[in-house]
Each structure stands twice: as structure tokens, then as C-alpha cells.
Amino acid sequence: MKRWMRYGSSDKIFYGVTFLVLTFMFIIVMYPILFVLASSFSSGQAVTGGKVFLWPVDFSLEGYKIVFHNRDILNGFLNSVIYTVTGTCINICITMVAAYALSREDLPGANWIMLLFTFTMFFSGGMIPNYMLIQKLGMINTRWAIVIPGALGVYNLIIARTFIRNNIPKELLEAAQIDGCSDIRFFTAIVLPLSKAVAAVLVLFYGVGHWNSYFNPMLYLNSRELFPLPIYLKEILISNQIDPSTVADPELQMRIAQTADVIKYALIVVTTVPVMMIYPFIQKYFVKGVMIGSIKG
């Protein structure tokens, strides 16, 4: 308050307007999220009747019950976890190794190799040639098609390389070399332990990418038992197909028709929560990661 008195009148107007605009943005962003949350905890009639605004009406967990009893969704959830965990592990290994080697300024040709990588950010073969390659490699309808082709993201490589360059002092490398430390040992013993922050950012970027990926699985997978969550989500949320027979409990089957919309809201919450839960832990690093990436984009 004391500070407020000190501002000149034109500054007061400016800060007032800023406050209003920011608050407006906050409401615009938060309201849909709260609406989805509230609806997911409401009863079928309340949602279908349009009674929910900000708070659950006729509190009920019906939507969640059906979501957790649906075999498709559980199967998809499991597959998504498999793809996210294995995919991210492969991503991190290959990205960190490449980033380290390319961060070394004493590597002849490093810039040319880097150019080879960055060019792919701006030009690509496109959908059909990619599809034909995956087909030729015999990866269609296997889990490999999901975790292998995107194993190295060039943007993430740039982030990791910039981080290593800026954070590992050159003197450390020189001292290690005098002691007879090999390049690979320097990587495993010194660079990796010092790069935890950037590894955390990569885990977030790659992990969220895998968890949310929809198109590649749709293109490359045919068997339902291999589908990750987003494909099932698409069927339920967008194509409005929820097959009552996939729910084991006959009593629940009856209620599905009445609660279709609540199911959708519950499903949105269930699939988004895992991502939101890791976010606060990595948030600090994440802002840093975006900044590093932008400096040397």
C-alpha cells in the first residue's frame, strides 16, 4: 500500500489497467479448467441439464467409476505408460550422448554434423516417405514404430548442447585430460552428473510429447491392444463412441447413456492429471530450458 501511494497518477492508471488485464487473462485461462473439473464431479443430469457453472452440482463420482471400469481406457493407459517410459529413456540417452559430443569445440567437423541435424528442423520428407520407411523397416503395428522414429528431437539436442557448453567449465576438461581421462569417461563421470537440470527439462519435453502423441500411433498401429490412450480418447471424446460392452459391470452399462458427458469430463481430468502432477516438480528447470533453447535457437 505504501508503495502504491508513491506512484504518480499516470503510473496508477497504468498499474490499474495492467492488473485488470492480467486478472482477465487469469480468469479466461482458469475458468474452462475449473468448469471441466466441476463437471467431472457432477451428476449426469446436472451436466446434461446445463446446471454446472463453477462448482460440482449433485456431487458424484459416477464418471470416474465408469472411466476406471472401462477396459479400453485401462489398456490405453498402460500402453501410454509403456511408450512414455521407454520412449523417454531412449530419447534421453541418445540426446545427451549427441549433445555432449557436439558441445566439444575441439571436435573437428562438429559444426558440419550440427548442420546435418539442424537442417532437418526446416525440411523433411513428409508423411508418405516416412510411412514407407517405417513399412520397409517392418515396424508397422509394432511398439517400435512409436518409440524409435522420433528418438532424437533436434530442438532438444540444441538445448542440451547449449547447456553443456555453458555449464561445464573448459578448465575441467583440460584438467581431466591431463590426468589421462578419456572422452567417454569424462562424459559419464563429469558431464552427466552435472547435467541433471537439463536432463529434467528433456524428460518433461519428451515425456509430455510421448504421453500426448496421437497421430503417429494412429498411423502406424492397427491392433487395438497396442493403442495408447489418446486414440481411445479420440473415439470417446470426439467421435462419441463409447462401447457399453467394454464395461464389465452391467449396472454401469445402463447408466452410460445418461452420463456420456460426465464420462468425457472425468476422462479429460484423468488423462491430464499425470502431466500436471510432474509439472510443478520440473517447473523451475523448465523455464530455464525454454530460455536456453531460445538463446541458441
Binding site: 506512484y7 504518480g8 499516470s10 497504468f14 498499474y15 495492467t18 492480467l22 487473462m25 487469469f26 479466461i28 485461462v29 479448467i33 471441466v36 446434461t48 446445463g50 541418445i94 550422448v97 549427441a98 559430443a101 566439444r104 575441439d106 571436435l107 573437428p108 554434423i113 546435418l116 526446416f122 525440411f123 523433411s124 520428407g125 513428409g126 508423411m127 508418405i128 516417405p129 516416412n130 510411412y131 514407407m132 520407411l133 524409435i148 522414429p149 532424437l152 578419456s182 572422452d183 567417454i184 562424459f187 500426448n212 496421437y214 497421430f215 489418446p230 480418447l233 479420440k234 471424446l237 470426439i238 476422462l267 479429460i268 491430464t272 509439472y279 517447473q283 525454454v290 531460445s294 535457437g297
Partner: protein, 320 residues
Amino acid sequence: MRVKQKTVGSDRQIMSHKSLWHRMKARWQLYMLLALPVTFIILFHYVPMGGLVLAFKKYDISKGIFGSPWVGFQNFIKFFNSYKFTEVLKNTLTISIYSLLASFPLPIIFALLINAFPGKKYKKIIQTTTYIPHFISTVVMVGIVLQLLNSRIGIYGQLYSLLMKEPATDIIGKGTMFKHIYVWSGIWQSTGYNAIIYIAALSNVDQDLHEAAKIDGASRFQRVLYIDLMTVLPTATIMLILAAGGIMNVGFEKVLLLQNDLNIGYSEVISTYVYKIGLARGMGDFSLSTAIGMFNSVVNFTMLVIVNFISKRLNGSGIF
């Protein structure tokens, strides 16, 4: 580089006296580490680029890519002459230019306001919450859009009937509304996230400039305009160049998921058309689809080079 060599001194000079082969041999372990990533990039990025020859051939499954007969530019001509060409191109450009114009300035304005706002705690809360939508997947995002804009049970339907005292009309199926839904849901999702870069740039503002301006009697608003805005300009230029390089790239997944039979005339863009011709139906025309995709990539790349060139001429900042 020259400056660096001088400062590092003797060590560098010894290095440069050694032959290239020797320097490479000393780093053999690093090349070994790079073997896998490089193989990877070549296999999954450059091999498909080689597959672009398909655009100039008439693909025959029995003969494979290399055995199929050459047809020159026939596939491109077929696309340019088809009635779909103008429709798809028009939709693509409308959506992407609209999206660029609407969503490019907002993160900058948001970052400037956040940066200028004095309340630390409030600032932090707003900044953290506005990233959240970025992590929502496309499928879920489209699901949310369809639910909330539902004319019967969504927020849109409820508010409309509350304010206008009559039932809302369906906007999901209305073709002309497609671009607005697409663009503004994108803005909802990405403004907070895209502002991070600008907020980071603003944290590096020279505080002396602000002090000097304050002494000269500049108001906070004037300082935002003349100091803060100037600080984020180079970053904004880079972002603009990158955006120009994607001028023909409309968020493919989102368009595909938002499409329905009613809005298809306004929502079919080049990338979704490529998918539909090539892969969506059983027997796709691989050659035509590749040609259309290649047309898209070439236009994008050309735009990137042109805008980069202009920007370098104007203010010296570019990405290459």
C-alpha cells in the same frame, strides 16, 4: 575466432600445427558416441527426403520406389489443376495467417504487462497458471473445445441462452466459425507458454536505463514502450522468422480432429489433404500425396529463407 586464438595462445597454436587427421584421431571416442545419433538422423530424416523422388514418379507397388516410371512434374500439375487446389490453399493460408496475426503479438503484450506489474506473488501465480494449458494434449484440447462450445450443455450454450434468452445456435458445425475456433483455442493454449521467452529476455533489461528514464520523468508506461519493448524486439524477430517458416503448417492434428462433415469445406488444409489422399483410405495415391507434401515443404522453406534474408537486411538478426 581470430580473437579467441590469440587469447588462448600457445595451446591453440600447437593444436593447429597438428594435421587434421591427428586431431580427428585424438577424438575417436567422440565420433563413436556420435555414430548412433548420426545414423539415426540419416535413417529417419534423410532417407525419407530421398523418398521425395516419389513425387516425380508414378508409384507402382510391385516395382517399388526406384523401379516406378518417372513422370516429371505430372503429379504437381495434377494437384495445381484440381478443383481442390484453390480451396485447400485458401484454407491453409487463411487459417495460418489469421493465426499468426492474432497469436504473435499477444505473448509479447502479456510478457510486457507481467514484467511491469509490481506485485511479485500475484505475478507468479498468473505466470504459473497460464502455462498449464500448454500441456493439454491436442486430443483432449479438441475434446474440451467440443464440450465447452456445445450449444446445449457447454459454457457457450449456457451463457448464450442466459444472455440472449434464446437457445444458442450450433457453432461447431458452422464452417465459417472454424478458423475462429481453431485460432482462439490455440491462443488460449499457448499464450502463457510463448510469453516465457519474452519474459526471459525482459529479465536482462539494463536497469540503468530504467533509472535514467525515471530521473527524466518517464512514466512506467513510457518505459514499457521505449525500453522494454525495444529489448524484446530481437527475440520477437527470431520468433517471427520461425513462424514464417511454418506459414503453410497448420496444426495438423488439431485440424484433423476438429474436422467434421459440416465444416470440411473450410477446414481442409494441405496437410490433412495429403493425409487423406495418401493414407486415410485403403488405396492411396502415394505419388500425388508426396508431391503435395513436397510443395508444402518447399514453400515453407522458401518463406523461411526470404524472411530471414529480409530481417538480416533490416536489423541484422537472423537464424542463419
